[in-house]
Symmetry: C2
């Protein structure tokens, strides 16, 4: 029961990714990462938005959960970078249905 079929996994992908993309701040974070050459630490991202750090931390976790950003820790800093391939593949899979 722990294993999921390909179709089930695809449904979960759609769910996580579309939920992540539903909020303007999260979409904005993605475009900021894109503009900055796709690698920024949390503090830099926070400085680009008008919300408090904990709020943005949570948005970042949702993006991470959706697989749209990847994270690595560098001493005390947390570096985020875009996962463009994931964005492409999940949305293309969805669009495929409508072709």
């Amino acid at each position: 029961m722990a294993t999921k079929s390909r179709a089930e996994r695809e449904l979960m992908d759609f769910d996580m990714v579309f939920k992540a993309l539903a909020h303007p701040s999260r979409r904005y974070i993605l475009t900021v990462l894109l503009a900055k050459g796709d690698e920024m630490n949390a503090g830099e991202i926070v400085s680009k938005l008008s919300h408090k750090w904990p709020t943005i931390t949570r948005h970042l976790r949702q993006l991470e959960h959706a697989g749209l950003v990847k994270v690595k820790k560098v001493s005390t800093q947390v570096v985020y970078h875009l996962n463009k391939e994931r964005m492409q593949s999940v949305l293309e899979n969805w669009l495929q249905f409508f072709k």
Copy 2:
């Protein structure tokens, strides 16, 4: 002040479309329309989901607002059909950024 720039309109498109796609029932409605050869009236759509009519009416309105479905009245019936082109164009525009 009433006119919006191309960029502003694109931002609104992203907002409406991604919000519409965020809920699994709404995505499901779109795939049901697709499977049925993309034209169904409200009652048929309702019969394919496990929610009450007013709930689904509201989901349909959100899809319409996002431009993902088009609506026409045929006497007492309301016929919905997919706007595949809109789905394609808005999502492709978004994906374009990440290429």
